[in-house]
C-alpha cells in the first residue's frame, strides 16, 4: 500500500468523475446565492462556478474524468430542465468550452494563468450556446452575443482568479497525502 491515494482502477476513475459531477451540480446550486444578475443586469447569465471543477481536472491532466463529468453535467441539465433544446444548448456550450480548456491549459506553463483559460473557455461556451440558440430559436439571438461575450470575460476572470488561488492549495494538499496531482495513470 505504497500509493494508497493514487487512483488507477477504472472504478476509481468513475468515482472521481462522479465526485466531480456532484461538485459541479453543487456549484451550480451554489451559484443561486450570488446575485450576479443584480450586479450585471443581463438575463440568463451565471457565474459558471461549475467550470472550476472541469478546469481543475483538465489542469491535472485528468482528461477522461473531465469528459465524463462534463457529460454527466450535460445529461443532468437535461433531466433538470426537461427540454431537448436545453440539452442541445448545454451540450454545445460544454463541448466547446471543454475543448478550449484542453487546448489552452498548456498555456498556463507559458506565463498565462487560469484567468486566460477560464475566460476563453467561458467565451467559447457562450459562442457555442448562442450559435445553438440561433439554430433552435431564431437568428436574432445572435444580437445577444456581444453582451454575453463581454460578460463572459468578467465571469471567466472571477472563476480564473478563484482557480489561481485554489488549485495550488489543492495540489499541495494532494501531494501531502502522498500522491502526485498531475500524474496520469501510469499503470494502465
Amino acid at each position: 500500500m505504497t500509493n494508497r491515494t493514487r487512483v488507477s482502477s477504472a472504478s476509481g476513475k468513475a468515482a472521481h468523475a462522479a465526485a466531480a459531477a456532484a461538485l459541479i451540480s453543487a456549484f451550480s446550486f451554489l451559484e443561486h446565492f450570488f446575485p450576479v444578475a443584480a450586479l450585471i443586469p443581463v438575463p440568463g447569465i451565471k457565474l459558471g462556478l461549475g467550470n472550476i471543477v472541469l478546469l481543475y481536472l483538465v489542469s491535472v491532466k485528468r482528461y477522461g474524468e473531465a469528459l465524463s463529468a462534463a457529460a454527466v453535467k450535460v445529461v443532468l441539465s437535461f433531466f433538470l430542465s426537461g427540454s431537448p433544446v436545453a440539452l442541445a444548448l448545454s451540450l454545445s456550450g460544454t463541448a466547446l468550452s471543454l475543448a478550449a480548456m484542453f487546448l489552452l491549459c498548456p498555456m498556463t506553463k507559458r506565463g498565462f494563468s487560469f484567468v486566460t483559460v477560464s475566460s476563453a473557455s467561458s467565451f467559447f461556451f457562450n459562442l457555442a450556446q448562442t450559435a445553438a440558440a440561433c439554430v433552435f430559436y431564431t437568428g436574432a439571438v445572435f444580437y445577444y452575443f456581444p453582451v454575453l461575450s463581454a460578460v463572459s470575460l468578467v465571469t471567466g476572470t472571477v472563476t480564473g482568479i478563484s482557480a489561481n488561488l485554489l488549485f495550488p492549495k489543492i495540489n499541495k494538499l494532494i501531494r501531502a497525502r502522498g500522491s502526485k496531482p498531475d500524474e496520469r495513470y501510469a499503470n494502465e
Binding site: 498556463t108 507559458r110 506565463g111 498565462f112 494563468s113 484567468v115 486566460t116 475566460s119 476563453a120 467565451f123 445572435f142 444580437y143 452575443f145 456581444p146 453582451v147 461575450s149 463581454a150 470575460l153 476572470t157 480564473g160 482568479i161 489561481n164 488561488l165 488549485f167 495550488p168
Partner: protein, 125 residues
C-alpha cells in the same frame, strides 16, 4: 501560479475586452441606427415621382419652377425651402424612418422615405 493575475493574463484580458467592445459596437450600431444606405427619399409632385435621393448621401434637390427644395443631410430628409404660405412642410422637420412623409398641400408635393420595411404604422401614421 500563486499569483492572482499574471502580466500575460492582463494583456489577454485587455485584448479580448477590446474585441468584445468592438463586437458590441459593430453589432449594435448596425442594429439600432437606421441603415441610411438602404433608404431613399422619394419626391413626388402631383402624384408622380419626380426624384429619388439616397439618405446616405447628403445633397439637395430643387424644383426650380416652384422654388421648392428638399435637402438630405445626416441620413435625414427635410424640406429646406418652400414657396407655400403656411410653411407646414418646412416646419414638419426631418424624416428618416421608412414610411415617414412630409407633405406640402399647396405645392402638391410629398417627400416619402422608402426603406426595406415600414417602421411606421400605415394607419396611425
Amino acid at each position: 501560479m500563486s499569483k492572482i493575475l499574471s502580466k500575460k493574463d492582463a494583456v489577454f484580458l485587455c485584448v479580448s475586452a477590446l474585441f468584445s467592445a468592438l463586437l458590441c459596437f459593430f453589432v449594435y450600431s448596425s442594429l439600432f441606427s437606421p441603415d441610411a444606405a438602404k433608404k431613399t427619399a422619394v419626391i413626388s409632385r402631383s402624384g408622380k415621382i419626380v426624384h429619388e435621393m439616397k439618405l446616405s448621401e447628403d445633397g439637395t434637390f430643387l424644383i426650380e419652377d416652384l422654388g421648392f427644395e428638399v435637402t438630405v443631410r445626416d441620413g435625414c430628409a427635410f424640406v429646406s425651402r418652400s414657396p407655400c404660405k403656411g410653411r407646414y412642410c418646412v416646419n414638419s422637420g426631418r424624416i428618416s424612418r421608412p414610411g415617414a412623409a412630409v407633405i406640402c398641400v399647396p405645392c402638391e408635393i410629398t417627400v416619402t422615405v422608402r426603406g426595406e420595411e415600414s417602421a411606421i404604422d400605415g394607419v396611425a401614421g
